[in-house]
């Protein structure tokens, strides 16, 4: 009897593994960021359109903010743009744009065309800062708390669902915590 049950059990185990594997297959491209709960990487970048003005990670200490990596070459950034705009309009958190690997003229034209939801946009021309943030696709969005710690990262297109289930609750707990 057991000689029949064991192969069957082994087979069912394999099926279970397959099901689990298929379920996480679409999340495989989402690599958990090692930067969560770590201080935001150091940066010192010029402001888009005002190259003489620079901002560093220290300039943002004191209140939570969102860093949204984008580029005019990134089609998904265009797709998520209305959602980022909507989030910025809620007025619950400053949204900092991080324009990377882009030409200044293209970036400015992009903002003129689609609207500018960002409280400020910084320019990472050679992509160095994006490497320090571990960015490997675009768009990517980081939530930073008032002490300068990264608390959440979203890879890919921002959606209302992510805002409602991930970002707003974290902002609310930050407020009640202070």
């Amino acid at each position: 009897m057991s000689s029949r049950i064991i192969p069957l059990a082994a087979f069912l185990l394999l099926v279970a593994l397959l099901v689990v594997g298929l379920k996480i297959a679409d999340k495989k491209t989402q690599i958990p960021s090692p930067l969560i709960d770590k201080p935001v990487p150091e940066f010192d970048l010029p402001v888009l359109g005002q190259a003489e003005q620079r901002m560093s990670a220290e300039s943002f200490l004191g209140r939570p903010y969102l860093v949204n990596f984008w580029g005019s070459w990134c089609v998904t950034c265009r797709v998520e743009h209305p959602v980022i705009t909507q989030l910025a309009r809620m007025g619950v958190v400053d949204v900092v744009g991080l324009n990377f690997r882009d030409e200044e003229q293209d970036a400015l034209a992009w903002l003129r065309r689609f609207g500018n939801p960002y409280s400020v946009t910084l320019v990472d021309f050679d992509g160095r800062t994006s490497i320090d943030f571990g960015v490997y696709a675009a768009p990517e969005t980081f939530l930073v708390d008032s002490s300068g710690k990264i608390v959440f990262k979203h890879l890919g297109q921002m959606t209302m669902e992510v805002i409602e289930t991930e970002i707003l609750p974290r902002l609310a707990s930050m407020e009640s915590g202070t």
């Binding site: 990134c74 490497i131 675009a138």
Partner: protein, 147 residues
Amino acid sequence: MKTAKLILMIMVLTMSVTALAQQAPVQEPMVFATHEQEERFKKLTEELRCLVCQNQNLADSDALLAHDLKSEVHEMLLAGRTDEQIKQFMVERYGDFVLYRPPVQTNTYVLWLGPLLLLLGGAWILRINIKKRAQLLNTEDTEGGNG
């Protein structure tokens, strides 16, 4: 209509991952101070994963990000950093996933020891089966002798 929507959705969903996969401009040959440095560069970029095209290593990848990360590795090598420091730099930003050879640590024990356990399990089952058969043959023999 529905198919068109589906195709559009697939396009949008795959776009975020392809964004940084644009091909890099032709790379200028990298200059190394010593032959040993060049060997280390080759070895390191073969062990580091290209995150855009996840089944390729940095050495083989032509993606823009891989191009930039290779330049980082090159610069760090010239600056005299050790292999360990360079790998650490990558892991701090992209996580263990960036290493093709995962480190042996608590969350990778299953990965490293699993195959060995499976092998031992197989050997154990095989042993039981062989014993059973031997026993069966024995009893058949004795039964034959009696009959």
